[in-house]
Symmetry: C2
Subunit: 420 residues, 2 copies
């Protein structure tokens, strides 16, 4: 056992255990806890049979078992074709931008986000993010020494165009604009806010950026794009919005969330060949290609319709679960106690806004009492770039079954009453 002190690199010094692991540790130490924290997906509904059948089909196809051999860094051509076709269909738009050559498969979309940040940003650079934004991504930025600057929101918790204009003017005045290397948008049922962005809103952002002289890469995260409940949110990806034509565009997606998280397969699609090529080169250094077997399973699942069947099943179950948790919180009269939230049309989260001044962060008495009462959530402050309101709470209904969702909702309401 050796532990001489090591002079770590800057990345080594910046590396901190993810905050969610602190939250999860609390969960593990308190077995009676019901967790509305982690964004896990529905274990009961996982596509066990489809994955088994595909595994058998792959093994008995009579073809050489390439699926158990190394693949390429970019990933299986067949699955990349599906990525390109599906996004083009979703967008109801055709363009060479969707070409399979522009697709790279990754270890979940998370790796694609990491690669993009590595090749775009040096430490000290700035990325514009929504308020709130995906907290694991915010930690990723911190780990690379990148500064996240939050786009202001208006009273309706919507992205505030005027606020963005003044933010950019302000940054320009301070000479910070040169350091802005991209903008990150979660356009569908955002984690955590479940906010969607209309094409109009996105085009507005494009015009504001252009007017500010910031022709920066647009990073659009579509992790929850397919996880709507009844119908897709009526918008397209940035690839189908003219206002973005002069910007480098990256779209991030995942098969992990919507099919089986254990397969860990995501992708990026990029219309700027040099950017994608650089990301691929760095992926070559990370791992020279993701699991070929996982990719083969998903490729076959899409081909045979299992993937869409699973999506359909997932949508129903998540809607049901959302309704259960939502109704519980309504019946517990949270609104009367100054809490509010939008009932979402997709995604995995309820994003609760508590009364002004309430502190739901991990250090506060509210979190402590929640643990005491046996319910766990993600403190909303983790989801903001510095600026940080502390009165938000992210609840995930993905993994608990209906009974437990009711119980968990009631426990949370009890804590809220204690602080009312």
């Amino acid at each position: 056992m050796s532990s001489p002190s090591i002079p770590f690199s800057r990345i080594g010094q910046w590396a901190e255990p993810p905050v969610i692991s602190e939250v999860m540790k609390v969960a593990l130490e308190n077995k009676h806890l019901l967790s509305l924290a982690a964004g896990f997906t529905d274990t009961e509904a996982l596509p066990v049979k489809a994955v088994r059948d595909i595994s058998v089909a792959l093994a008995t196809s009579g073809k050489p078992p390439q699926y158990l051999q190394y693949g390429t860094t970019l990933g299986r051509p067949g699955l990349r074709k599906f990525v390109s076709k599906r996004l083009s269909q979703f967008d109801q738009h055709q363009s060479p931008d969707y070409h399979p050559d522009h697709v790279m498969l990754t270890n979940g979309s998370q790796q694609a986000l990491y690669l993009a940040m590595q090749v775009l940003c040096d430490p000290g650079d700035i990325l514009l993010v929504e308020s709130p934004s995906y907290f694991v991504f915010l930690e990723l930025l911190k780990g690379l020494g990148i500064e996240a600057v939050g786009i202001p929101i208006n009273e309706d918790d919507e992205l505030d165009s005027k606020g963005l204009i003044s933010l950019l003017e302000d940054m320009k005045a301070k000479g910070m604009d040169k350091r802005v290397k991209g903008i990150y948008l979660e356009s569908w049922f955002s984690n955590p806010s479940t906010r969607c962005l209309t094409n109009e809103k996105k085009a507005e952002v494009a015009h504001i950026l252009r007017d500010a002289g910031l022709m920066i890469p647009i990073l659009e995260d579509g992790a929850y794009q397919e996880l709507y409940f009844e119908e897709p949110f009526p918008s397209t990806s940035v690839f189908a919005i003219d206002a973005f034509d002069a910007f480098p565009r990256l779209f991030f997606g995942t098969f992990t969330k919507s099919f089986a998280t254990g397969l860990k397969a995501g992708f990026a699609i990029c219309d700027h060949p040099e950017l994608l090529s650089k990301m691929a080169s760095v992926k070559g250094h990370h791992d020279f290609g993701s699991s070929n077997y996982s990719q083969a399973i998903i490729e076959h699942a899409i081909e045979q319709g299992d993937y869409d069947a699973q999506l359909k099943r997932g949508r129903k179950r998540y809607q049901l679960k959302m309704e259960v948790l939502h109704r519980t919180l309504v019946e517990e009269e949270l609104q009367k106690m100054g809490w509010s939230w939008q009932k979402p049309d997709g995604g995995l989260y309820l994003w609760l806004k508590g009364p002004e001044g309430l502190d739901t962060s991990m250090d506060g008495a509210f979190f402590e009492n929640a643990v005491k009462e046996g319910v766990l959530y993600v403190p909303g402050n983790l989801c903001f770039a510095p600026g940080v309101p502390k009165n938000y709470t992210r609840l995930s209904y993905g993994v608990l079954e209906a009974d437990d969702l009711v119980k968990a909702g009631k426990r949370l309401a009890k804590v809220i009453r204690q602080f009312n």
Copy 2:
């Protein structure tokens, strides 16, 4: 289609497509080529049936399908236990250093190497490597702006202790020693040289480093440790060598090479908790955990003996393939033409040394003629830190069947005769 110019980060600027992709492109453009280049494994012998049976067993176990759900960043506890147990058994040594808590599962051992380099080295730092060394790793270093410095070799192509001493003295005199952040050793059937390191040789290295005041992390790569032909090379990992007790130690291994490359599962084991924790934090940013399904399959394969059965089969087949290629080259009288190589006792490569002055690099006439004659190899110069002899050639016999190995060997001999 947009292509405004992007001001890439330093990592973005350093990112270059891997040289092997250039070699492979040549292969793809010349379908008649027989490739002794890529280190692919034996497609015919892949564990198709075992993987299928395990997939079915997982699906029908009656347990909740956790294997299709997110895992943890460190990976499946059961598989981490196997890693710890197997290395301890290989070393015939017991110590808390092998504890499963010290194990992290990764996307192939490549990702573990990348993570170690990220947390240990800033751009401009130095890593000591063998001469020759694993060329994909050398590219990884270049991509992170890390300088690889090769340890001198003696006339027998062995690591030269005296040369290492003078190298370190020289670096100290130049003030470079502060930048040395680790040493990378491939101790078993090294890629590309198939060299093994004895415990005595490794202990010697430890003493030299200690005497030079360099208590730097030891990175030992055991990718081919289990891929011996008849018996293991009689040495242990650095965890079982006292001389390394005061050094931070990292051992890298893989299930990918020895079982099924398509599953992409490797690991690191580390006796320095802070180092491992920082690597895990960065892995949290890369992907917060590798494919749970791949890990579950390997865990079961080890549990049920399929993994060891596959290893046994692989060893036999690789030995046979090696013998075929080796014999062909002997019969073609390469030695008489000034070529030499060690017949290996494991691994996937023949490492050929050509006559002094010969240039086998990609820009040379030799490579061009080889392509013309229909045979591909990895030019040895890619495997050296700057310094670079150009008369080596790496041949991989992993993927071709015996007939093609004979053909490929004869084609190479023809080229060699042209340059004799």
